[in-house]
Amino acid sequence: MPLKKGVKFTEDGQRLDVGDGFWRTATARGTYKFYMDDPVVEQVVFFGTMREAGNPVSLVLRLKIEDQQIAEIETIVIRTGMNPSRPADTGAEAFEKLGGPDPLFLEEIPPAERVSRDELARTANKYFSGMQLNDGKGDYSFFADDCSRIENGQLATQGRNTVADGAAPATSYTVKQGCRAQFETGLIHFVTRIRDRRFVVLDTMHGVALAFTFFDHAAGNTRTFQTPDGKTVTAGPTNPWTWEIAEAFKVQNGKIHRILAIFQRCPYGMNSGWSSWEDGMSDKARW
């Protein structure tokens, strides 16, 4: 590999020597592959599947290129047991069943409709701002009518429908709802902070924005809140923990059409290894 002197490598937020961690245990490539690149800042991100001692794992890989050499390597490796709601599932098998990314991610935006990098990032960031301490009262018109979301290989929204056609239980949104309807429930309040929002790919040609970030669940008094219809609800995680996330957005005409996320559980408040403590704790987006 063309490694730049002083190359920095992290796995799951921890700085390691290149050659350690997954480098010692990876055994084969998987079949799911999705590359997102940003030539302006010379960064590329790969969402894919791999094998580790024969077990399927999901991999997020970011490379930063300088002088045609690799200067930064950031990885998240999702292994069995790291997802409390689906402890036996890394998402890798589900990704491989999908075959590849939704074709919409790969379609070019007509030149006349392309927006600036700033505008692309700002639109995608509305998703994080609308979810953090979600109250159901925001302006969620940034979701396109055909919006859908895939999380660790699983469809997390109802098809392409933004209408609340799935009846939500009293304390939780449901995958039977669309992107917008889920936000309108006000029941995603338990995501108390979305911090260290680093947009590392802003591909204006394809309308693709990709951010590394963390979803905190503080689980304290924020568990009790009011929904838009005035009901008092107590819901969400019962102890503090965090999702370590890489999330890609397809944005066109100022609206989010597709969302693709890979994530795993990590210690509450963890730093990415790429941010100062202050930036790591801030909910301000950076690019």
Binding site: R24, T80, T238
Partner: protein
């Protein structure tokens, strides 16, 4: 030195008065924190935490707080979720270094969690707060129901003439971690009756029905079943309580995931523990009772972490 002292005492004119100044003596006494003072700090800490109110604590201006190796604002994480305290509370201290720590059970929205908290106190103000919190499901083994009160041996006082030096006690405990790395219980000075409790569950000696049978702590190590723990580092020994014969070690076990099985004499090839299967680490606060210069009792708080995740104090 003499010159500096004199300048500090009004240029030397009032040397005699200065040296004997009641104000100065009183201030020195006010600033020290003996064992009772340190243990009182733990009580204050636990009370403030369950009240979700850090302002009740005597905090230094730049106090540093970590939970599970992550630096956070004091008031966040377990401070926001802690419910009632259980009956289990094990406190120990090293007054010489202004250090005190406790193991305690705390309810968190209906589930028991096991807390280790270490405080560093300077001039009666808390400058460092390090915590590890074992919870489900991030910890594979945890049973807080077993933890109702500390084993009395941890509270026994060692007669003054029989207390080993700090250095010797740390060296004794260091051999335990060497024994894990090397898969050799023979190099560890275990008492024949040594018992180890991890997150409330006895893990040595084993039971007759466990995969290794009823092996002692040392014999377990010698099977090499734990050599997937390729290294124990960093190793810190922030508290040595010589009065009670206790050593607190805060360490990280590193599991690179490169060895999953081992040949155990008499038992054939065995699969190692769950954490041998992929690169990961565990962050551990382990308390050792040293009796007659041997390791007599061990109790540990263990938290799963990313491979080589910093503990926040290196």
């Amino acid at each position: 030195m003499r010159t500096r002292f004199l300048k500090g005492c009004f240029g030397g004119f009032l040397l005699v008065i200065c040296a004997a100044s009641p104000l100065r003596v009183a201030r020195a006494a006010d600033e020290s924190c003996d064992r009772a003072c340190l243990e009182g700090m733990i009580d204050q800490y636990l009370a403030a935490m369950t009240a979700h109110d850090p302002s009740r604590l005597p905090l230094a201006k730049d106090v540093k707080f970590t939970e599970d190796g992550v630096q956070l604002q004091l008031g966040d994480a377990l401070w926001a979720t802690a419910g009632s305290l259980g009956t289990y509370k094990l406190v120990f201290a090293e007054p010489e270094s202004g250090s005190v720590a406790a193991y305690a059970v705390v309810q968190e929205n209906g589930s028991g969690a096991l807390l280790m908290v270490r405080l560093k106190v300077v001039k009666r103000r808390i400058t460092e707060i390090e915590t590890l919190v074992a919870r489900k499901p991030t910890t594979s083994i945890l049973n807080t129901d077993n933890l109702t009160e500390p084993h009395p041996i941890f509270l026994e006082t060692v007669p003054e003439g029989d207390r080993p030096s700090r250095q010797e006690m740390v060296s004794t405990v260091g051999k335990y971690f060497d024994g894990i790395e090397q898969g050799n219980g023979d190099i560890v000075p275990f008492d024949a009756e040594c018992v180890r409790i991890e997150n409330g569950i006895q893990t040595c000696p084993g039971s007759a029905s466990s995969p290794l049978g009823a092996l002692s702590c040392g014999a377990q190590l010698s099977t090499k079943i734990f050599t997937y723990i390729q290294s124990v580092n960093p190793r810190r020994f922030p508290i040595v309580d010589r009065e009670r014969g206790l050593v607190l070690a805060i360490v990280r076990f590193n599991h690179p995931g490169t060895q999953q099985t081992v040949e155990v004499p008499g038992r054939g090839r065995m699969t190692m523990g769950r954490y041998s299967q992929w690169p990961n680490s565990t962050q551990i606060a382990e308390l050792f009772k040293i009796k007659d210069r041997k390791i007599r009792e061990i109790t540990a708080v263990i938290v799963t972490a990313a491979y080589r995740a910093p503990m926040g104090w290196e």
